[in-house]
Symmetry: C2
Subunit: 199 residues, 2 copies
DNA sequence: TTGTTGCTAACACAACTGTGCTAGATAAGC
DNA sequence: GCTTATCTAGCACAGTTGTGTTAGCAACAA
């Protein structure tokens, strides 16, 4: 007997592959079942409805990203720490790019689909907290430029990163990866200049 | 005889209404025809394929936004001018919100659909130019903070605005509109502080 | 051995999809 | 008047969709 959770994870990963390759609209129960090498009857044994399957797949993406962020070494220069945390969100390599594409596909649908809006809101709140924590981390280390409103800066950084992710997804290639890192780097240099850290 | 271009515009607007109300995946030829009050045979007289219809609808959104940006009064304080231009892109009222939702739906699909990727790239280039022009406008007026790389700042502003739009779409309501304006305002204050303009 | 339970497969159903095709309606040019 | 081009409507086709139902399979407990 196979662990039920492992099977569900396998199916979620099949969803990811399809979303990345063909888009969310191709993630039908039949296609997912075929991609996972199962019959659609089997799939329905683990996920009764399609939204249940898609929701599980998205939630798993969020958990993976959070896990990687938690794994970042938080000692040393706090500007570098925040930079590393943001790097874990950017689509800089294949798996991370896949995660971001899944995120985007769900995000776009959540705008009109009330079912997904709840889950999307939950993720949004988690991310809001994460970026607030990053700004607080800079402030506590005395690295944040004086006179900045922490709440506004958290939202600004959050929006910037989402925009950078979007652009990196839409302009594939090495140069766009460099642009993404440079853009985030320039922003961090602006809100937490090296000089302010070295007093 | 009705003007063919007017008919095509009517159909594009029907696409928008459906995308905003039910999402892009509901924009089937039947639904669009019904929404516009035409038979699907008539629709196919104006648009042979579905992608042709959807492409026309997206292009029209871009043209409308560009038109509004061109209409902005460019005299006076250049920081205020840039702020007004960006306001024309943000989903602050119903019609602009609709435009942004259509943009997001197409954007998400363009990541995996090669057909739409071309059009999406064209729009991206236009927007890149638009934001570069905004930064140049600030620089020429002596309002841009010294020491900033204009190319990087254009990309940073572009990414920030896209992120702000995304967040405003996902968190409907008055407060999120205020947040959006505040976030953009804070960014402009940072890259073009009032002090630098008043020497 | 017989049940029982977790799991897999396969098919049926009604609804929907994009596109092709044909025929009728309307208006413009002569 | 007639002809021609433009426009509209409707149906057919083959395909896909989500979900429900039914039956068969393996593994394990009594």
């Amino acid at each position: 007997m196979v662990d039920a959770h492992a099977r569900r994870t396998e199916l979620a990963e099949a969803v990811w592959r399809i979303v990345v390759r063909d888009g969310l609209e191709q993630a039908s129960v039949r296609n997912v079942a075929r991609e996972a090498g199962l019959s659609m009857g089997s799939l329905r044994h683990y996920f009764t409805t399609q939204s249940e399957l898609l929701g599980f797949a998205l939630r798993l993406v969020g958990e993976r990203i959070e896990e990687r962020i938690r794994a970042v070494d938080t000692t040393g220069d706090q500007r570098a720490v925040v930079r590393s945390m943001i790097d874990e969100m950017l689509p800089l390599d294949r798996p991370r790019r896949g995660e971001c594409e899944v995120w985007l596909a769900f995000t776009a649908r959540a705008v009109v689909e009330p079912t997904m809006a709840g889950l999307r809101k939950e993720i949004d709140e988690r991310l809001t907290d994460a970026f607030a924590a990053m700004i607080r981390r800079l402030a506590d280390a005395g690295a944040l430029r004086p006179g900045l409103d922490q709440k506004v800066e958290a939202e600004r950084l959050y929006a910037l990163v989402d925009g950078v992710i979007l652009h990196a997804l839409l302009r594939p290639g090495r140069t766009s990866n460099a642009t993404a890192k440079a853009t985030v780097g320039a922003h961090l240099d602006q809100i937490a200049p090296a000089a302010a850290d070295e007093r």
